[in-house]
Assembly symmetry: C2
Homo-oligomer: 143 residues x 2
C-alpha cells in the first residue's frame, strides 16, 4: 500500500501542477493544505522532502511558497512515490532505488516470492514511471 505520505504528496503536487498552468507564482503550504484538506505540518515535511530531492522548488520570505522544479511533463508519478516512500517495489529485495536483502534470505536467485514480486515491481514501474504529472492532470494515463 502507498503510504499517506506519498498519497498526500501526490495530491499536493498534482494540485500545484494544475495551478501552475494558470499563474506562475509559488503556492503557500497553507493554501495547498487547505485546498486538499491535508494536515499542514505533515504536508510541510512532505514538501520539504520533495524539495530536497529536487522535485519542488521553494521560495522563502514574503510572496514565497512552493512551485515545480521542472516542467510537469518532466516529473513522473514514480519519482514522487520513490522520493516519499523510498521505493515503488512491493518488497525491498526487488527495489532498484532502495534495494535491501531480506533478513534471512538463503538464496535470492531461487526465491519464489522474489520472482513474483519482481514482476509486480516491473509492471508498477512501467505505469508510474510512464505517467508524468502532465499526463495525470490531463487524465491521459496510458497502459
Amino acid at each position: 500500500m502507498l503510504s499517506k505520505k506519498a498519497k498526500y504528496g501526490l495530491q499536493a503536487i498534482i494540485f500545484l501542477a494544475k495551478e501552475t498552468r494558470k499563474k506562475k507564482e509559488p503556492m503557500q503550504i497553507s493554501e495547498l493544505a487547505a485546498h486538499e484538506n491535508l494536515p499542514k505540518k505533515f504536508l510541510e515535511i512532505i514538501l520539504l522532502d520533495m524539495r530536497k530531492q529536487g522535485i519542488l522548488h521553494s521560495q522563502m520570505g514574503r510572496g514565497g511558497g512552493y512551485s515545480l522544479a521542472r516542467e510537469a511533463n518532466k516529473i513522473t508519478v514514480g519519482q514522487i512515490v520513490r522520493a516519499l516512500d523510498g521505493t515503488i517495489a512491493p518488497i525491498s529485495c526487488v527495489s532498484k532505488s532502495a534495494y535491501r536483502k531480506c533478513n534471512d534470505c538463503k538464496d535470492e536467485k531461487t526465491c519464489e516470492i522474489r520472482k513474483v514480486m519482481q514482476k509486480v515491481r516491473d509492471a508498477t514501474a512501467k505505469i508510474l514511471d510512464g505517467t508524468s504529472l502532465e499526463d495525470a492532470v490531463k487524465g491521459k494515463v496510458k497502459f
Copy 2:
C-alpha cells in the same frame, strides 16, 4: 509495500506446498518457523488467519499441524496477500476486496491519483491472481 505478515505467510505456505508434494502429514508451526526463520508466535497468528479464511487446514492435538486446504494449483498468491493484508491495491479506493473511499475525496471519477493507481492494481492483480502456489513452487511465473 507488502507487510511482513503477508511475506511471512507466503514463505510459510510456499514451504508447505513444497513439502506437501512429498508427504501428506500436517506440518507443525515450530517446524515451519524454524525452517523459514520466522517469529513463531507471529507466524501462529498468520497461519490462524489463513485457516479462518479457508486457505489452510489445521489439525489439533498430538500429531497435528497445518496443511493446505486445497491443492496448490487452486491457491493463488493474490488470495494469500488479500487474506493477510486485506487488499492488493496500492490505495483502498481501487480495492475490490476491501474498498474504502478516501477521507476527503471530492470526486472519485475525476481523481487523477485514483486513475493511475487503478492501473497499478489491475496489473498487480493480473500477476498475483495469475500465479498459483504450484506455479510459484515450480518457478513458472508467467507475464
